[in-house]
């Protein structure tokens, strides 16, 4: 039976925090990639965005973000591969936000669409959930994925898991 959904690697941030999390030498044997993240930023605000740099690059990206915070909805754009708000140091303590990035056809020789689905998680009246349609307008196969908080570091116990998805 074909392995269609396989955990490739998982990593958890240690006590010093981490400025970024990178998956390198990604196997070129799957059809799609899925990354599930549990994140918190150390920055002294309530929430921060998370960026994804394919092959270490922050360029050639566009995004459309749809966002709801419990009382209003909005849309916006970005020139980064982005997942909106994860909790930061001023959010409810010890709470981590969830984020998921899906990358179909990561080995293809055309531009890559990358969808992101995030929820801030916050034990308070205000929280944020979002979905994002990202485009990385580069034809290279993706071999490295680097996740970066908008500011500050990823807090201890933040984690990221990379899955390979096969179509058969």
């Amino acid at each position: 039976m074909a392995v269609t959904y396989k955990l490739i690697e998982t990593v958890t941030v240690g006590s010093g925090g981490a400025a970024s999390i990178a998956f390198a030498s990604i196997p070129q044997t799957y059809t799609d990639l899925l990354i599930k993240l549990s994140l918190r930023s150390t920055n002294a605000v309530t929430n921060r965005n998370v960026y994804l740099n394919p092959n270490g690059s922050s360029a050639n990206a566009t995004a459309r973000i749809l966002l709801g915070d419990g009382s209003s909805v909005s849309s916006s754009t970005s020139t980064r591969i982005i997942g909106r708000d994860i909790p930061a140091a001023s959010a409810t303590s010890s709470v981590f936000g969830n984020a998921e990035f899906y990358i179909p056809n990561y080995r293809s020789s055309v531009a890559k669409s990358i969808s992101a689905d995030t929820v801030m998680e916050n034990n308070a009246t205000a929280s944020v959930s979002s979905i994002t349609a990202n485009l990385w307008n580069v034809t290279d196969a993706i071999t490295t994925l680097t996740f970066v908080p908008e500011a500050g570091d990823f807090a201890q116990y933040s984690s990221a898991s990379l899955y390979g998805i096969s179509n058969s």
Partner: protein, 74 residues
């Protein structure tokens, strides 16, 4: 010096690596961009709140009750 976690998927080994000068520079750009966006967002919120208070005041001056103003603009 800030460090990043790098997982080598071919070996399964995770290492802690110092950021390159390029990555440090990108971090600074990101932080500055966020600060600028937040400043604009805060200013827009303040302007909206001020306009709402002004509208309420003018409606009351026309003789509307608090309930009527609330029904109109929440």
């Amino acid at each position: 010096m800030a460090t990043k976690l790098v997982v080598d998927c071919s070996t399964g080994i995770t290492t802690e690596v110092e950021l390159t000068a390029e990555e440090v520079a990108q971090r600074e750009v990101d932080a500055a961009a966020w600060a600028e966006a937040k400043e604009l967002s805060d200013a827009a919120e303040a302007a909206k709140a001020s306009a709402k208070a002004s509208a309420e005041s003018k409606l009351k001056a026309l003789g509307l009750t608090d309930a009527e103003v609330s029904a109109l603009i929440g």
